[in-house]
């Protein structure tokens, strides 16, 4: 017997995952609501099959990302720079100085798959784990992450980055 109350309790305890994923992908308020519904439905359908082999948060992340990336979404505006500015400073410094809101704004300007990779990285998942999730090689993730961090550093360094979401 599938218990709705147990399901909702688990979702409530981990709702930050859904909110973070949707905040990075939804183009507007209407799409945000649609994505919440879609993710909740997919989770509800898969809830009976959730055996607890992985943590609930991991399972929820996986369903949320898969659902968001396979849904028909409006195109979000990508305003990133192709040419990265020359910098001698370590790229992480800029990222570390920013608050999560600025970081979120910068991440929203990455491509869909790059957003998924950096999101999982920021949540503390290791490269092999991210690689397994996405179905690509661990080396591929390392290369991607390096490029993403460079791009984020450039975006965060840009004085007007907060206006480009």
């Amino acid at each position: 017997m599938v218990s709705e109350s147990a399901f909702l309790e688990q979702i409530r305890a981990n709702q930050g995952i859904i909110l973070k994923v949707v905040s990075l992908y939804a183009a507007d308020a209407e799409e945000k609501k649609d994505l919440y519904q879609e993710i909740l439905l997919q989770c509800w359908k898969g809830w009976a099959q959730f055996r607890g082999d992985s943590k609930f948060s991991t399972w929820l992340y996986r369903i949320s990302l898969n659902t968001v990336l396979t849904s028909m979404r409006k195109k979000t505006k990508l305003v990133y720079q192709d040419e990265l500015p020359e910098t001698a400073e370590p790229v992480t410094n800029h990222i570390e100085q920013e608050d999560s809101q600025a970081l979120q704004t910068a991440i929203r300007q990455l491509t869909d798959t790059d957003r998924a990779i950096i999101l999982l990285h920021l949540e503390g998942y290791s490269n092999p784990e991210i690689a397994e999730w996405l179905g690509i090689s661990s080396n591929g993730i390392a290369v991607k992450l390096y490029r993403i961090r460079q791009r984020l550093a450039a975006l965060l360094k840009a004085p007007d980055h907060e206006r480009t979401s």
């Binding site: 709705e4 909702l8 909110l19 990302l65 570390e96 491509t111 998924a116 949540e123 996405l134």
Partner: protein, 204 residues
């Protein structure tokens, strides 16, 4: 504090999500996921095709001329083939939508392949079924409208000459219409999925 700690420290909240987490709300949610929409379309397609098949059988009983029997038998055979394809696809999508925890690349490819398969079914329908369906429909329409026998009808030059015109007009129209509808429903999504697949495979 590094960026990971800051990110993990961020605890967003949203009333829209809280509303959906009230007891009973889950049961009322309407799916908008493209694959679920596609299964609905497939289900409708299968039901309509079966009803049309019954219609073909009735027409064959009413007009038992070999020409009508031939065109409608071929049309029925292709319709059964298309229904079988649609049913197989429907079952495959049901399995896909029940399990959203595959690796993302695999999930994206499955979605792309299953939606493209639906497009191929439409094209097969257009190329193989429509010429026979148009001929059968034209013959039956002529028989029903004039009340003549088929032999008498085929002696009318104008009726015979118009048949290829009907086929030449209706078949491309039907084909283009189904292709347009498919592109309108799933074209953007297919491009989006292909873009995601390519961007993930770039690093392979």
């Amino acid at each position: 504090m590094n960026e990971q700690a800051k990110w993990q420290d961020w605890k967003p909240e949203d009333d829209d999500l809280n509303q959906l987490l009230k007891p009973g709300s889950i049961q009322k949610l309407q799916p908008g996921h493209p694959l679920i929409k596609l299964t609905r379309g497939l289900r409708r397609n299968i039901i309509w095709s079966l009803l049309i098949l019954i219609g073909y059988v009735m027409i064959m009983i009413i007009f038992p001329y070999w020409q009508v029997l031939l065109t409608l038998t071929i049309t029925s055979a292709f319709t059964i083939y298309v229904v079988w394809g649609a049913w197989t696809l429907y079952r495959a999508i049901q399995t896909t939508t029940r399990n959203s925890t595959r690796p993302l690349l695999e999930e994206l490819k499955l979605h792309h392949d299953e939606i493209s398969a639906w497009g191929r079914i439409q094209i097969k329908l257009g190329i193989f079924v429509y010429p026979f369906a148009a001929t059968g429909g034209y013959l039956c329409g002529g028989l029903a409208r004039t009340g003549l026998t088929l032999d008498q009808l085929l002696e009318r030059g104008r009726f015979v000459y118009l048949l290829p015109v009907v086929i030449l007009v209706l078949v491309p129209l039907g084909y283009l219409a189904s292709k347009w509808m498919f592109r309108r429903s799933f074209g953007k999504l297919l491009i989006q999925l292909k873009g995601l697949i390519d961007s993930l495979e770039d690093e392979q």
